[in-house]
């Protein structure tokens, strides 16, 4: 894997062509950053800018630097050289292919061994309820199965120094495990989320409004405490969820 030390976002404009309030952010190797804001505030657009290593050529006119320099053109387009893995907000696959065939093709496009396919399916099955298999059609997978497969695919096949995650919480898969799986040692991880547990797990968060980056909040000591309590609470909610999913009844609040 290609090593990088930093990613810099230079501000552009919001939906009304006003300048981003935050004019630049430098994110270092190993950092996990959150992106928060109301629906429609431009969170996905911001990580879209990072995915395509925007050079003032997107709607937002932002510019992305890698290690303080303008990245080479082929880093933007050639999947074999890409620095960015992105779990987008899409809940379903549209490709009319079988799971195994798709994963092999994707591995090939990223210059990885096609034999990774089996491993990806195995990992996906640890994240979702009903298991999926190599012969399943992608378009027949449920939303949760699709997200689990996309997550596992990123962890093994798209393994990149920059990881962008758009709302991992919304598909009923195990979100904390999924986040752990995606955020390996020394990576830059950017998480778009509406979920308080995930948002408070990040050290810094970018706040979006009307398409613009309006501020950066550093996580306080207090928030850190809240986060660990919240994580416990979340574990309990997940256990309750599993109980209900198994078709059992809830006797008491554990």
């Amino acid at each position: 894997m290609h090593e990088i030390n930093s990613l810099t976002i230079l501000g552009g404009n919001d939906k009304d062509d006003n300048c981003d309030f935050v004019d630049s952010i430098k994110i270092l190797k190993g950092e996990i950053i959150g992106v928060v804001g109301p629906t429609g505030s431009g969170k996905s657009t911001l990580i879209g800018d990072i995915e395509q290593l925007a050079q003032r050529d997107t709607q937002s006119k932002r510019q992305i630097l890698i290690d303080d320099a303008v990245p080479d053109n082929d880093l933007r387009s050639d999947p074999r050289k890409k620095l960015v893995a992105q779990l987008s907000q899409n809940m379903h696959f549209l490709a009319d292919m079988k799971v195994d065939e798709f994963l092999r093709m994707h591995a090939k496009s990223r210059g990885k061994p096609e034999t990774l396919s089996g491993e990806v399916i195995e990992i996906a099955n640890t994240l979702c309820g009903e298991p999926l298999g190599p012969e399943n059609h992608l378009t027949a997978l449920s939303g949760g199965q699709s997200r689990a497969l996309m997550t596992a695919d990123i962890a093994r096949i798209s393994d990149s120094p920059i990881v962008l995650i758009d709302e991992i919480e919304n598909a009923g898969i195990r979100k904390q495990e999924a986040l752990k799986l995606l955020s390996g040692e020394g990576k830059i991880v950017i998480v778009v989320t509406h979920d308080p547990v995930l948002a408070l797990l990040t050290e810094k968060r970018i706040v979006m409004e009307n398409g613009g980056m309006v501020k950066i909040i550093e996580r306080s000591g207090k928030e850190r405490e809240v986060c660990s309590k919240l994580a416990e609470l979340d574990e309990r909610i997940i256990m309750l969820r599993e109980t209900i999913r198994r078709g059992e009844t809830v006797e008491e609040l554990i």
Binding site: Q52, S77, Q86, A95, F102, M105
Partner: protein, 216 residues
């Protein structure tokens, strides 16, 4: 895509003319007319749109020259996926929708396999993995093309395409097609509507691949 390319070209000081070839109906000329450049819509009606585009290539170029344009952009419907109206000297751009699925690049034929640039649109509607698989399939079908991820709504990709357009060379007087059009000239082309082997003349191909010429 054509609109955002036109805007990008205007921004870099070019003066394009546009001809849009469609089959039966189009209002693209109204849409494109808002860009403030000369636009002509041409309907091929009962002629194949690609044959129509090929037949009219010189007239289109002459019209663009009369307008004082330095470049002609010609968009054609390209429906049967068997022809491609690309002359050797012109820059050939194929626009393909990623949501049509990764098997589509294998079905499109010369329209894509002989293009110089393949603009892949609607990538925003699928995952990154699907975009990458689609790109791989495009390159399998056409290893020498430049694939560009594009978006018709946000103009993504149009600046990259405009740069390639600006670098492309001028047409010569001896233009040739990159591909042979399909061979079928038969009585159906001339208006026959009855179904049955005995009514058909011309170059005909059976399901088992046997090809024959019947007629005088």
């Amino acid at each position: 895509m054509l609109s955002s390319l036109t805007r990008a070209l205007i921004d870099s000081g070019m003066n394009p003319s546009i001809v849009k070839v469609d089959c039966l109906w189009t209002e693209d000329d109204k849409r494109l007319g808002r860009l403030g450049v000369p636009v002509k819509a041409a309907l091929s009606k009962d002629m194949c749109p690609d044959h129509f585009a090929i037949y009219n290539t010189e007239d289109m170029l002459a019209w663009a020259e009369d307008n004082g344009s330095d470049i002609l952009l010609n968009e054609t419907a390209g429906l049967c996926l068997r022809c491609a109206p690309y002359p050797n000297d012109c820059l050939a751009v194929c626009v393909i929708d990623i949501t049509s699925g990764p098997n589509n690049p294998l079905k499109v034929g010369p329209l894509m396999t002989s293009a110089d640039v393949v603009m892949m649109t609607k990538g925003d509607m699928v995952s990154q993995a699907e975009r990458e698989v689609f790109r791989e399939r495009v390159l399998e079908a056409n290893p020498t093309c430049t694939p560009i991820e594009a978006n018709g709504l946000t103009s993504k990709g149009s600046v990259e395409l405009a740069e390639i357009v600006l670098r492309s060379k001028d047409v010569s007087s001896d233009m040739r097609l990159r591909n042979n059009p399909p061979f079928s000239i038969c009585t159906l082309c001339a208006g026959e509507t009855r179904i049955g082997k005995e009514y058909q003349r011309g170059v005909l191909r059976r399901m088992d691949g046997f090809t024959d010429y019947r007629g005088e």
